[in-house]
Symmetry: C2
Subunit: 224 residues, 2 copies
């Protein structure tokens, strides 16, 4: 016998819920949007999927963010916001000239601490036609990369680096050494058993900075 209006199971009727005044639905949407969009890409994830993961309906996306792209933008803003802010803070604080090793290790630690960052870089920066690539490049790569070049040029002119070193190429090499081990982790963890957790991260960081300075060759001199 079907009851009139009291559906007994989890089915809920429309209407504002009782408890929370805090925007927990909005936060849940952002959280699951980050997890899903960064894992599978923007086009591969539907608004219904995100809403279901967050325990709500796709209409809430329209309510809080306007549309799917609005949710994506808000998610990215929240994700890279802290990094852009800390970058600005560094620039304004009189720019205490950072040392090479500190810069590299700091950058790597940032990638290791936020495991979703490499995926974001792949989807947003490396991927052709990544949404918001413009913004990401301007606010992030466009400032970090020239800073790297400047540090290298200064160290070279100071005599600490080879005189014939091209700072631009060296910056690209440094960024490659710092970033690629993390964005390629899904592959290297399988084909090489690689990992970057805790102790292994320290080994990677030491190895990378030393390789950049000294290379892999044996002995103090050069060979052949």
């Amino acid at each position: 016998m079907p009851r009139k209006s009291a559906t007994p199971k989890t089915a809920r009727r429309p209407g504002r819920p009782v408890g929370g005044g805090d925007a927990e639905v909005r936060a849940a949407l952002l959280e699951h949007a980050r997890a899903l969009f960064l894992k599978h890409g923007f086009a591969d994830v539907s608004t219904r999927q995100v809403a279901a993961a967050a325990g709500t309906t796709s209409a809430m996306i329209h309510y809080y963010f306007g549309d799917k792209l609005g949710l994506y933008r808000a998610m990215l803003e929240e994700a890279i916001g802290p990094f852009v802010a800390s970058l600005q803070r560094l620039e304004q604080a009189g720019a205490p000239p950072p040392d090479l090793e500190g810069l590299m290790v700091g950058y790597m630690r940032m990638l290791a601490t936020n495991p979703w960052l490499p995926a974001l870089i792949v989807h947003e920066v490396l991927d052709e036609g990544g949404r918001l690539r413009e913004q990401f490049v301007e606010q992030f790569a466009g400032r970090l990369a020239p800073a790297f070049v400047e540090v290298l040029r200064r160290e070279r002119d100071r005599g600490a680096l080879r005189a014939d070193l091209d700072p631009r190429l060296a910056a690209i090499s440094a960024l490659s050494l710092c970033i690629f081990p993390f964005v390629s982790l899904p592959v290297t963890s399988r084909v090489l058993g690689f990992s970057v957790t805790g102790q292994e991260f320290e080994r990677l960081a030491r190895h990378t900075t030393r390789l950049f300075r000294e290379g892999v060759a044996a002995g103090p001199g050069r060979q052949s």
Copy 2:
């Protein structure tokens, strides 16, 4: 006055076309599928788009390849086939132990010569949940990476490399130095004015191999 059945413009009626016996429609589909899928990703490109670019209809995709995924698989097969074949040829040919520099430069030249390869790597290998990632990893990264490790281990035991060098980490560094400059080219070309055409490629190759051997530090000894 609308004519009865003779639509005068380019509109064509069904039926087998007159000339070609060669499968030029199939080839055109593969060609434009590669361009579009590698540029925008599998999910972002519709079968209608590919068909229109190839000057035909989406029914031809069904006719020649079964479905969208079949077209994608065939495109990838055609794209990476030559590389897998040459890899097998190298393995079977008694494995003439390759030198480090040759391996690195050869790998980089491969990326420079086929400009769509970096995009393929981003979409298929680095991207979480990339279709055919399994196959690509097994046939490509899963063979190239261990080969790299083996070469490094041999050179280290031979005394050419530092005794305390971890071959696994060194292999990851070498791959980073070789691959990342190419996959990050869409970014570095904008923020650093970087390029890898002709003469610039030679400079990059020389710089990279030398940095891997000797590092960036000045002088023959070490510092601090």
